[in-house]
Symmetry: C2
């Protein structure tokens, strides 16, 4: 489903080099019968060992993508239609390869929607929100005619700065906050500032697949960091930082997507020290913090940072009004200057209307009540799935928060086959390999329990388990 592109020892570097070469071919830069760069040259360009390039060329030769001529070097094979990916039909515009398999799955309409980590719209305070909108128009009659400042509405940033102080004791001025249109835009902007071709980036294994797609588009190499119910193996992380000098570590340490794991407090401080020592930016994506089932999670990594090595992405609008797409990014100067410029290039500012509506709901006394009810509803949803899975022989660690269950199926069931069958039956989920930087984890899948209503959830999971039973070898 997805080619592996990690770069640790279990996923050798030559695959990255293969993809680099295939990408150039795909874009038509290196055409049929073109001579490819010498091993020495390419090794120098990509800063890899010559043997790595040699191995990549050999694999591509075996695959028929490349041929050898007269001992003079490597050439692009002709007529490989698989490479063209449509670029030779219609306007043959040479493009970068972009992928987003998660979005591809989510774009398919299904009856039993377990692939979207979104809240059931019926659990949101819809009618109440519409009152707030009217209030916004009374307060700011020209809101529709005005652009926001690039960094975001000042009133909203002041409010959030107080919120972060009260909730997590973060010392953050409004100037250290930037408003984006959703957390994904934040990840995209940060990647655009930090990552370039062949840069190394640490990602959890498994992780949010769209972040990987963004980093791959930037040409970066993904280096996996295992995440378990106990958090990270800090010694292993240090070794990766020392060896690969990653520019950043994209992390989602609180009710992690897709696993639901939370990195314990004692690791947070140590990790920030590692980041400082190895000059590796920690990009902390924190959308699930408010959705805990038992105890509140530990403070964000950002709370332990004094030197500006953590960028904190906080996207609470998911639980309030996902349609508004409001997210706050906290970071220190001078990085903030770059982030403002990146945002100015990306879309010149998030719509003011959305910021003002969010602000007024966010400061309302009703918010805490809504969040409390939502937490209970999600826990009920989670328990429905666990009940239906109880007798299936599948394995999972019960999450203490978040929107997803990360489930391991017995070896006797092929998740890929189950995915095909269940899509036919209008049931969607996310196959685990999509979330794995190594493209493995083929026995795993992610079930989002937040979107379907209780009845649909129970019925859909029941059907899914039944389908899996039919596939069992």
């Amino acid at each position: 489903m997805k080619k592996a592109t990690g770069a640790d020892q279990s996923h050798p570097l030559f695959r990255q080099v293969c993809e680099f070469i295939l990408n150039r071919m795909q874009r038509g830069e290196w055409k049929a019968h073109d001579k490819l760069p010498s091993i020495r040259l390419l090794a120098e360009e990509l800063k890899v060992h010559r043997l790595t390039v040699f191995k990549a060329y050999r694999v591509l030769t075996e695959d028929g993508k490349v041929y050898v001529k007269d001992k003079s070097g490597y050439y692009v094979s002709p007529g490989d239609r698989a490479l063209g990916d449509g670029s030779s039909e219609g306007a043959a515009v040479s493009t970068y390869s972009l992928t987003n398999p998660l979005s591809d799955i989510q774009r398919m309409p299904v009856q039993y929607q377990f692939s979207q980590a979104l809240i059931d719209p019926n659990l949101l305070p819809n009618l109440f929100l519409s009152d707030y909108v009217k209030k916004v128009f009374d307060l700011y009659p020209k809101v529709m005619g005005t652009y926001s400042s690039v960094q975001g509405d000042e009133e909203l940033r002041e409010t959030l700065s107080r919120h972060f102080h009260d909730q997590h004791r973060l010392q953050l001025s409004p100037q250290e906050l930037l408003i984006t249109s959703g957390a994904q835009q934040a990840i995209n902007l940060i990647a655009g500032i930090v990552l370039g071709p062949m840069d190394n980036v640490l990602v959890e294994r498994p992780t949010y697949s769209v972040a990987m797609d963004i980093f791959r588009r930037a040409g970066a190499r993904l280096i996996p960091v295992e995440i378990t119910p106990q958090g990270y193996d800090l010694e292993a992380v240090e070794e990766l930082m020392r060896r690969h000098k990653p520019r950043m570590f994209y992390m989602n340490p609180t009710h992690h997507n897709p696993t639901g794991y939370t990195v314990p407090a004692r690791q947070r401080k140590l990790m920030v020290e590692l980041a400082e020592r190895y000059r590796c930016l920690l990009v902390e994506d924190d959308p699930f913090r408010d959705m805990y089932f038992g105890e509140k999670p530990p403070p964000p990594f950002f709370a332990y940072d004094t030197e500006g090595w953590v960028i904190y992405i906080s996207s609470f609008s998911k639980y309030v009004a996902p349609g508004l797409r409001i997210c706050a990014v906290a970071c220190r100067y001078p990085f903030m200057e770059r982030l403002i410029t990146a945002k100015s290039l990306a879309d010149n500012g998030t719509p003011l209307l959305n910021q003002k509506i969010f602000l007024h709901y966010y400061t309302s006394p009703r918010l805490q009540g809504h969040l409390g009810k939502l937490r209970i509803a999600l826990q009920v949803h989670k328990e429905i799935v666990e009940e239906e899975l109880a007798s299936a022989g599948w394995e999972w660690t019960a999450p203490e928060g978040g929107l997803n269950l990360w489930v391991k199926l017995p070896e006797s069931i092929s998740v890929a086959a189950l995915f095909d069958r269940s899509m036919e039956q209008s049931i969607s989920f996310i196959p685990g390999e999509i979330c794995d930087p190594l493209g493995e984890m083929k026995s795993w899948l992610r079930l989002s329990y937040s979107f379907a209503s209780e009845g649909v959830l129970r019925e859909g999971i029941r059907r899914l388990v039944m389908l899996a039973g039919q596939l069992e070898k």
Copy 2:
């Protein structure tokens, strides 16, 4: 103010190579006393002639950025603080250099705002819009809880597809339209799909500076195409396409920003043929079409395209509710597939609320009346500026539409000095060199007459002319 980065004969390629090297230094990839790549290697990597790299190294050596040692090669000079641009203070995160001088100017609050090509909020139907918002909430009570599809709300795309057919006879299905958060996001997404390091891109001279900033961030080379009141010199464009094989031509051919010029109809068909022949995507940015003062402008380039070589960016929300940030991009498959994926990575879809509000206002009978009034108001604004400039000895071609006047000052006045003085006096405008891919046009400036109210406009221009008189040598 801005380093030139064009690549035609008047702006030699070695400057690009210099910037490439400086950028690596700035990011800290090449540190003090590091040995730089040999001339041969760098020439091969950048696909330029060795003499070009030689010249770049020589210039950098003369500038003290680079030094030569023992005939063994070139090395990075130490302690050049100018290169650091803050990255050595606080968290020394190595970042790509991003610039957006237009946004930097526009972020400064001034009393006489002539740098923003935005509509005076008082000219927008604010109260009327608030009624529409209430209507939207009655129709779609859960709009705030729902994400839009990545491509955009289907109802809106169907409406726009009919609109494009009725207005310009464009045959466009809703599947050939994508909704973005403003035209700038559209430019950014397209650049992300098409442009990579050292790719060539044609841009008008002068042009919208933020588009250049986006293309530069992608590492592309800007190649200027002169635009005059008569349009383009098609022979010159053909020569540029033949010689430089640009991947795309970013154009704004209707009431062009900043000049106000409109490319005549007879050139449009011919240009589309050139695009096809030389496989150069035309990216047609068309935000000013509805703001004509006399005759309606000729049909878009897109209307002449049968093979999918034109991408059409249509951002009418500027005249309706700029705060909504709604823009439509029209293109054919397979490019549309890539655009949807790019949008899914960038922000996963424009907020549904904004799309629905826009849809309902856009289909209202009041829209045409509003646009008619707005055209008259803008023409009055334009004439106020022209009256105040009449006796100043400045030169311009009266625009037949749009929001800007592109003015040439006498040689005896320094626009750079005028800019500094006028900012002190709380008057803003855009210096011409920012709009020039070559960084020249130092006698020009852009005055946006759409944002300030009539009284402020007259008073501010009067003051500006007075300041200029004081600076005259």
